[in-house]
């Protein structure tokens, strides 16, 4: 059945398609939308910075301030160390806004409809596994860098490699932890890729199934996709912060203390 859908509506292609080459570097349709998203994001953020410096208190500024404040509070709550949280926040919040803008751009109607020589000019940036995997690697590397900075180089290795003679159980756990670091990277990238790509397929399938009633049924699913895009961007932010906090010393103790305080 899906083959008929693929012929009737936007084709289901797992990999992004190449539009043109700059030198020997291929430029894909996902990169086009990603670049557009970055430009929009830069415009919004520089506008916000200018407005804040001027002391503007418009509704949009209140929204931005509220977003940044609540994200900062969340980061501090998870990491538990204000100095570290202030340094981690730029990366994690940038990731959140990048994914938010790109997920919302990716479900606009012009994506997939504008074509150039038969290939779509735009495609959701997170619907390209390369992009999400690269960002997952960045956030996991940052987590390792923070662990090395806090534990020292050997101390970080000692988190994973524990002598089996001293403590057999923990040495086995350490090996599992090495595997877990890689599986976390893969799961982090697959999660957002799957949601964005699956969302595109879902919209195509719904448009096909409801054929003449598509104008009635699609808006509901567009609202769902807006929600999913925002939640997945937040999840990426949250997981980046959580993985960084796992590598910090006494991260778990601080959590236990906070839980004990609440109880």
């Amino acid at each position: 059945m899906l083959t008929t859908i693929a012929s009737a509506t936007p084709t289901v292609s797992v990999a992004p398609e190449t539009l043109f080459h700059i030198g020997s570097m291929p430029v894909t349709n996902s990169q086009m939308l990603g670049t557009l998203g970055v430009l929009i994001l830069l415009t919004i953020m520089f506008g916000a910075v200018r407005a804040v410096r001027k002391g503007s208190r418009s509704r949009l500024m209140h929204l931005m301030l509220w977003a940044f404040e609540s994200l900062y509070d969340t980061t501090v709550e998870v990491i538990g160390d204000k100095a570290v949280a202030r340094k981690v926040m730029p990366l994690s919040v940038t990731l959140l806004f990048f994914f938010l803008i790109n997920n919302w751009l990716g479900i606009l109607p012009f994506v997939g409809a504008v074509k150039y020589h038969g290939t779509e000019v735009f495609r959701g940036a997170a619907a390209d596994m390369n992009m999400t995997f690269a960002l997952a690697i960045i956030s996991m590397t940052t987590a390792q860098v923070w662990a090395i900075r806090k534990h020292g180089f050997l101390g970080n290795i000692r988190r994973y490699l524990i002598s089996p003679l001293k403590d057999p159980l923990h040495s086995f756990e350490g090996v599992l932890e090495i595997v877990a670091e890689f599986s976390r990277t893969l799961a982090l990238s697959l999660r957002i890729f799957g949601n964005v790509f699956g969302g595109e397929v879902l919209l195509a399938v719904i448009a096909y199934l409801s054929s003449y009633a598509a104008s009635l049924s699609l808006p509901l699913f567009y609202v769902l996709e807006l929600f999913v895009g925002a939640v997945q961007a937040y999840v990426f932010f949250m997981l980046t912060v959580a993985f960084i906090s796992l590598g910090l010393p006494n991260g778990e103790d601080a959590h236990a203390d906070a839980a004990a305080d609440k109880a």
């Binding site: 899906l2 289901v12 292609s13 797992v14 990999a15 799961a187 697959l190 999660r191 890729f193 799957g194 949601n195 790509f197 699956g198 397929v201 999913v228 939640v231 997945q232 937040y234 999840v235 949250m238």
Partner: protein, 71 residues
Amino acid sequence: MESLAFGLTYAIAAAGCGIGLGLVGLGAVQAAGRNPEALGKIRTLMILAMSFVDALAIIGLVVALIVKFLK
């Protein structure tokens, strides 16, 4: 056979995630029943946990699509 594999790849993932989502909802509703004033926090945590469970079903769907369309 291939269509069956395509269907099962999603169906098995979705079955497990259905159970998981049910447990998340159960936990959230019970927590809200015990502690109604914390409803806002519980809702945020519930949506977060649901998106974790959801992702597995969607990864199942993507794997099924990849197997079907990338050969």
